[in-house]
């Protein structure tokens, strides 16, 4: 998954190998990795460093929505579907993305570059409609801005919109 054993262990040590901070650890690893998920080997590694059983670790991985156990597209576009965003233009996002990317919601594009899905509120309700990619929130989106965003991402960059 891109990260070396050393890099993963560094993240675990930065978090003091503290079982209380298991979610911090998983998130840090997931966000640092190319494919954006926690593979089996990593799950085992974290469990053994923290003294937690595999069952316990997998229970966590399946409970928390941000944690993923399958490889993700390079850019996962998360659309806020809570009511404040949805009724201030958010309802167009999924439609526009389907037109541009030519795949339905929750399905990666064949080149593995994009995927989009809905998530609940991310705390940017006064700037809806919003899309979140990793830690970055793109706000006050219009159809044109979404086209531009995808274009930019295809070229490997994005402008602050």
């Amino acid at each position: 998954m891109g990260l070396s054993l050393k890099e993963k262990e560094a993240i675990i040590f930065e978090n003091d190998s503290d079982p209380q901070r298991i979610l911090n650890i998983f998130l840090d690893i997931q966000f640092a990795s190319e494919e954006g998920y926690i593979d089996e080997e990593t799950a085992k590694l974290v469990g053994s460093h923290l003294g937690l059983s595999e069952a316990r670790v997998y229970e966590l991985l399946s409970f928390y929505a941000i944690l993923k156990t399958e490889p993700q597209a390079k850019y996962v576009l998360k659309i806020c579907n809570s009511t404040p965003c949805l009724y201030t233009g958010g309802d167009m996002l999924a439609e526009v993305l389907e037109t541009i990317l030519e795949v339905p919601i929750d399905q990666a594009t064949p080149d593995g570059l994009f995927m989009y899905h809905s998530i609940p509120c991310i705390g940017a309700c006064d700037q809806g409609p919003v899309i979140k990619i990793k830690d970055t929130v793109f706000s006050d989106l219009t159809e044109e801005k979404v086209y531009q965003l995808i274009d930019d991402l295809r070229n490997g960059c994005y402008l602050e919109l």
């Binding site: 937690l52 229970e59 928390y64 404040p84 609940p120 705390g123 309700c125």
Partner: protein, 432 residues
């Protein structure tokens, strides 16, 4: 001196250049509350909190003074302080502002609690969506420690040792429920616990624990610095202080504001200083208060409403988290509630059957109404289901699902009736 209509919690948010800089924080009266607290008798601190009448800002609105007194009285050497920063109530983004732009005020509030309860460990549980802010907050913690406000022998007081650890959430709305949050800190799945026992007696690692919201903790230094009475005077009889409100939906000026409790709602929605009225040009129709779990009010009934705890209670509404989501008359209430139901069905943790299945049944029923496919009896079924889920669910999530649904039914019954299928006409004669 603080006066009404002066920003109290947002004062520094709008002024500070470096939110994590201790010296700059102190220039704006930072840590004065803590310094006062350590001069005070512990009982007097509790008295000031009672006088201030700060109600918990996470949503439950329980008097903070009472909660703190309960923990103060609970037995045990080890007590934990926990800050609930899992803000996930759709329409709510107030804690985010404090965490990112005035983290030291939250820290100061938590340190005061640490002092009062002789706690050694504090935790702030911050939602996974706020990863960037977690880094800012960690920086603020490091700065505070370097300046002697955290760590060992704080302010030179022998034995006043206290540390704060950031724990990240990872995307589970139910972790905003206090007992679920504690489970999550313990490295378990964030499912709520059965209560009683009260968390003030049996909390984190089964020790007495205080859990308060970010905005509540940020208010503590103000109370101690200015005195309980001055704080109370900022609000009304049933709740002192100012309130952070989050305006979203169909108002012109969406955003975060601080208002004195007791401000007319009309002013909040329509005046240029706040909402500025409808952003779409259509008349406004309803307002959803306090997040998805809060009640909904019809704009036409709210002309004389005062934004305060008692003012909203009078109208069967509540402040909740401080979210104010405004919708215009183009939005069908049934359609809106379907989306609310989608949220709850998604976020139910599944521990209790009434909530796990009930939220799904509610979503199905509402969808039928929305598609105009409801049958006679469905309205009764919906009402039944709401009552069951409210009464039989174990935690606040399930117990409050019915709040928005019920108010929708009360104010806009005609929209539900319009969702009933046309009564089928009996076929006469043969079909050929």
């Amino acid at each position: 001196m603080i006066k009404r209509n002066q920003p109290v919690l947002l004062e520094r948010v709008n002024k500070m250049e470096h939110a994590t800089d201790v010296a700059e924080y102190e220039r704006y009266q930072g840590f004065e509350g803590l310094k006062k607290a350590i001069e005070m008798d512990k009982e007097t601190i509790l008295d000031e909190l009672d006088i201030a009448h700060l109600r918990g800002r996470g949503g439950a609105a329980f008097p903070l003074g009472k909660k703190w007194r309960h923990l103060y009285g609970s037995k045990g050497d080890t007590k934990y302080i926990v800050c609930n920063a899992d803000e996930g109530e759709p329409g709510t983004f107030k804690d985010k502002a404090l965490l990112a732009h005035d983290p030291l005020s939250v820290i100061e509030g938590m340190v005061i609690a640490g002092y009062l309860f002789s706690a050694k460990a504090g935790y702030i549980y911050m939602r996974g969506e706020y990863r960037r802010i977690q880094k800012v907050f960690q920086e603020a913690l490091d700065h505070a420690e370097a300046a002697g406000f955290l760590g060992d022998n704080i302010l030179g007081i022998e034995g006043f040792d206290y540390k704060i650890t950031i724990i990240s959430g990872a995307g589970a709305y139910v972790c905003g429920e206090n007992s679920a949050l504690l489970n999550s800190i313990e490295g378990k799945t964030g499912r709520p616990r059965v209560k009683p026992p009260h968390l003030a007696d049996v909390g984190l690692y089964l020790k007495p624990t205080l859990v308060n919201n970010v905005e509540s903790f940020a208010g503590i230094p103000v109370i101690l610095r200015e005195g309980g009475q001055a704080y109370r005077d900022l609000g009304t009889e049933d709740g002192g202080g100012t309130k952070l409100i989050c305006l979203s939906g169909h108002v012109k000026n969406r955003g975060l504001y601080e208002v004195n409790l007791g401000t007319p709602l009309h002013e909040i929605i329509y005046s240029d200083e706040y909402g500025g009225g409808s952003s779409t040009g259509n008349p406004l129709k309803f307002i959803h208060f306090g997040g998805q779990s809060g009640p909904i009010g019809a704009v036409k009934n709210l002309d004389d409403c005062i934004y305060s705890y008692e003012g909203l209670w009078e109208k069967n509404l509540s402040i909740g988290s401080g979210a104010i989501v405004v919708m215009d008359d183009q939005v069908s209430i049934v359609d809106y509630l379907v989306q609310v139901a989608v949220f709850f069905a998604h976020e139910s943790c599944g521990k209790c059957t009434p909530c796990r299945l009930g939220t799904t049944r509610i979503l199905e029923l509402l969808t039928k109404f929305n598609k105009k496919q409801a049958e006679s009896g469905d309205l009764e079924r919906l009402e039944h289901m709401l009552t069951h889920v409210t009464n039989l669910s174990a935690c606040g999530l399930g117990q409050s699902v019915a709040n928005p649904m019920r108010s929708g039914l009360d104010y806009f019954p005609e929209e539900f009736e319009a969702g009933l299928k046309e009564a089928a006409v009996p076929v006469k004669g043969g079909l050929w």
